[in-house]
Symmetry: C2
Subunit: 266 residues, 2 copies
Amino acid sequence: MKQTSISPKSRYNIEALARGLELLALFSAERPSLSLSQIVEALPLNKSTAYRILATLEAQQYLVQDPLTRLYRPGLKVLQLGFTALNSLEVRQIARPHLEKLAQALDETVSLAVLDGFRTVYIDRIRNQSIVGVMLGIGSSLPAHCTALGKVLLADLAAGELDAMLTTHDLRAYTPKTITTPEVLRVALATIRQQGYALDDEELSAGLQAVAAPLYDQTGRVVAAVNVTGTTLNISPARLRDEILPALKAAAHEISLALGAAPGPH
Amino acid sequence: MKQTSISPKSRYNIEALARGLELLALFSAERPSLSLSQIVEALPLNKSTAYRILATLEAQQYLVQDPLTRLYRPGLKVLQLGFTALNSLEVRQIARPHLEKLAQALDETVSLAVLDGFRTVYIDRIRNQSIVGVMLGIGSSLPAHCTALGKVLLADLAAGELDAMLTTHDLRAYTPKTITTPEVLRVALATIRQQGYALDDEELSAGLQAVAAPLYDQTGRVVAAVNVTGTTLNISPARLRDEILPALKAAAHEISLALGAAPGPH
DNA sequence: ATGTTTGTTTCACTCAGTCAAACCAATTCT
DNA sequence: AGAATTGGTTTGACTGAGTGAAACAAACAT
């Protein structure tokens, strides 16, 4: 991402630590537990080095090892940390009650997300009881170009930032409707910027629809976004326009105010 | 557990990594963001060493630095990891629907926890809408001796394990009703073990009541515990005995079965 | 202006981290 | 059964990565 070629802070990188953190980051929803050998083949580490890293992570309770299978998985320390991270996001704290209100009023699932590079990271969600819908948990992420949330967040980037993103990430197609070219995306973002919301009509997954609106803070920058999701079945274009969109925009505006944004025609 | 007294795995400890992890663990709900100097005074680290560790953690997205205040706070990587940790706890996955059912039936807050050393760590919770109640989030922890959950979990420890705990942790009093001596605790745990549930009558906080029941897995060990909490106002002794306790025990039994425990008179 | 605090950078010394390779214990194959 | 394979644990020697002291810079308070 940032390439201050000559004097990056990364000059201070301490390798033993970096390796340990990389190892830790190997664990994911798909690979919740790993063996020493899996780790060694996934990372360019010597077996004994990996072993020592594991021992250290385990001693610190960042990992626990199942004594039978010898498999490692994230420990409670990680959990604990994760939640302090979550709670340190003040956007979330502030937005929470408004999201609840919105979700209740519409009886639909409402989510809150921030941008991390070119990815949309979910940081909160109030679900309705419908069976179908996004199954992604808090903390997980999706490419930004194919979600309403992502597009709203991208729309506020400086031109240069967006350019950088577009050269390093390609716009993978998830459905026939996914935006796959930089040109089309740029146009879409311009529209979104002026209309103050974004739509996702089956760009990520067939049958899935979403509307998202940006949240502004004191500085006038977009710091997060809220969306309402539903299936093509229970959200008609009419309902979306007449009921959902106004409620969403109102909620987003309220939250922005609570975040200290100047009242204005967002 | 095996104690090859002079050959603990900790011999493999790699210090640079350990220090980094300790630094990371400094962040908590109370101290969600820290400056370099705060860190240096909290840990036995040289300023420049701490600086390098911070740089490394930041490069790996484990921390982010507010460019204005220079304060560091946990990054999204940590969040992400935290949730994979949470989801890797299969107890939680399995218990979830039963907890929801229980919470709905009683219209009270229901929590799920595991034991970590001498602490009770909350790993899930379904809240009711009442204003008062435990304000602790998932991932946070409390001393085990003063909560119903904790006592249920302690009750299953081997005598030796409990002894070890009691010598290293003292039983801090949170209210006049808190159990503060090992002898009393041992007696209480024996009772709990045979009756299959634990009560907490204002042992942690005045006005707060809880009942907890253990969850068993295939091996017959207690792996987690469920509880129902409420205030002394809305939970009468009668209601507790006649309505809540039976429902709780039934739910716990169901979950245990789902975890593969042998059906039996728990 | 002057002192104080906090963050950044440099540098020389040495010990911590690394890799290769041996070792051991289970599995699986013949 | 023995042989071969796989995955985990342990050792030791070499050396560069990590360390602390101390100088430097910038921000802040007085």
